[in-house]
Amino acid sequence: MNINSRAIQDSVEVLSNKKVGAYNHMVFAVGDMASHAKPGNFVAISVGGPSSSLILRRAFAIYRSSNRGAYGGTIELVVAAHGTGSKWLSERSVHERVDMVGPLGTAFGIPTEPVNALLVGGGYGSAPLFGLAEVLKARGCRVDMVLGASVAGKIYAPLEGKRSVNVMTLTTEDGSAGVKGRVTDVMPQIIERNQVEIIYSCGPMAMLEAVNQVAEGANVLHQCAVEESMACGIGVCMTCVVPMRDSAGVIKMQRSCIEGPVVDGSQVVWGSERKIAQGTWGAPQ
């Protein structure tokens, strides 16, 4: 088995930190760590400084990575200041260093043939989709994108990111940008109009579940990046599990940090937070 075989732990320098809407766009000089980063991978960062009471790393999807450039390898993140740890990270100044482990987890699967792809992101969940769009575009795919959030400021859709996207559709729950509503309100039309063959999604679990329903309804493949609370990010603690059907149809609790975060949406047993899905392997009798 190939477990995070490219992961590196390193103290990396903040090259840039800019406020973009509700988020901070941050660039780190990561050296070799960038070499093997693929769209869908994430990094895990120590937060709070030397005497921190926050003992666990925080996970962030890789927005972009680059091997070349003035600073050698770089990794870019889109950080929402959610709680104490992510707030701390978003407050780091240029030249400060943070301890980073990455790249971690599974990546989005890339079709071998050109296909029509739909990328769906919620909030900062758009981050890994732009790198994915580039790769898909380079393979000759048609790439549509739907980004949703509660309000306009929580949509992350930078200009340079749109280069590889054919049509970008925005939705907000309050109508402050794009279509008023949710991503799933606009998806069916796009799927039909563009003969979408694969959906990639990233965002809150509830959104992924709704996207999966649309995908199943339309009989389209669906790869999604799930987000469970992670204590270690490297597969050793078993906190981040998601119930998934394996090829034999058996439901097993799979680690989203290592067997994920990118998984096949049809294999996830959705809506099983706070309970063990019936028929799970080894479920209590």
Binding site: I3, I55, V241, I258, R274, P284
Partner: protein
């Protein structure tokens, strides 16, 4: 302090020697594979596996964890494939990658512990069994074995009876008891060669927005630096009462200083658990810093340092 002076870093539990005293903690090192990306497993004194049960277990539903000040709660619920698949896949992989292996076992009845011991009896290449008795006893209203001296004793006796006499048995105790020394006495009388101190402390976090327990399992086990003073106290108390019994200390060890604290309190070895979640190579860091710390304090061997804080 000469870099070149030989330092005897070996430690011993029961009949087995280990080249260094820093082990992983049960349930905190995955299958071993995941950490082998960050260092060689033979750098460890031993890998202590996650606790394995007779049958496969799904574990508890999510959320399974909550971060707390300088600590975390977990309620994994002993997710695992069951002993058969474990012996077929995990153990051979670990051993072929140079790891010394201590298998942690867990059961819901005394008979389950006995049957796990029988499964392990034949595998002489193992370095020991750690018996996790912080499990609910289904035959006694779910009361945790480790909280009941009689049940604790029964489990260790059953394991000893079903395994060869020189097979090192380390009984892992819970700190959630009124008198840990009396439990230690019982399990040693029942045949334990060593004691692992401490398992997690029962704790709970409320999600104040959802207005319900954060963990799906309601309560969870508290680990990490927050509990280190409790662990050091338990080690000190038990070493004072049973100075000849080797102790595997654990609970919040993050660096060499913390390991020194446990060694001086009376531990013969130290397991690193939660620290690995924050730092994948924490175990190696602890090992290196402990060695430096012992040398710089003029010790020539680990054994000289064990329990020196006792007055």
């Amino acid at each position: 302090m000469s870099e070149f002076q030989a330092f005897d870093f070996r430690t011993k539990f029961g009949s087995r020697y280990f080249p260094s005293p820093i082990f992983t903690a049960s349930g905190c090192a995955g299958s071993g594979k995941e950490l082998s990306q960050f260092f060689d497993l033979d750098e460890l004194g031993a890998v202590v596996t996650k606790s394995i049960s007779v049958k496969p277990r799904s574990g508890r539903p999510t959320p399974r964890m909550a971060e707390t000040p300088s600590g975390m709660l977990n309620s994994i619920g002993l997710q695992g494939p069951g002993i058969d698949q474990f012996l077929e896949i995990d153990i051979p992989w670990l051993q072929s990658n140079g790891a010394r292996v201590i298998v942690s076992i867990s059961g819901e009845t005394v008979e389950e512990y006995a049957s796990l011991a029988r499964k392990l009896r034949g595998i002489n290449s193992l370095h020991g069994i750690e018996v996790n008795i912080s499990c609910p006893n289904v035959e006694n209203r779910g009361l945790v074995f480790a909280c009941d001296p009689v049940a604790s004793r029964a489990v260790i006796e059953a394991v000893r009876r079903n395994i060869s006499g020189d097979y090192p048995i380390i009984a892992k105790l819970s700190p959630d008891v009124t008198d840990i020394v009396s439990i230690a006495n019982e399990v040693v009388a029942a045949g334990a060669d060593g004691l692992a101190l401490i398992n997690t402390v029962l704790g709970m976090v409320i999600d104040v927005d959802a207005k319900r327990p954060k963990l799906a399992g309601i309560t969870g086990g508290l680990s990490g630096p927050a509990i280190r003073p409790i662990a050091v106290r338990a080690i000190y108390q038990v070493h004072k009462a049973l100075p000849q019994i080797p102790i595997l200390g654990m609970g919040g060890v993050t660096n060499g200083r913390d390991a020194l604290e446990m060694i001086f309190a009376g531990a013969s070895g130290v397991s690193v658990g939660t620290a690995t979640f924050g730092n994948p190579s924490a175990v190696i860091k602890v090992k290196r810093e402990l060695l430096e710390g012992l040398r710089s304090r003029g010790f020539n061997s680990l054994s000289e340092a064990i329990g020196v804080a006792h007055v």
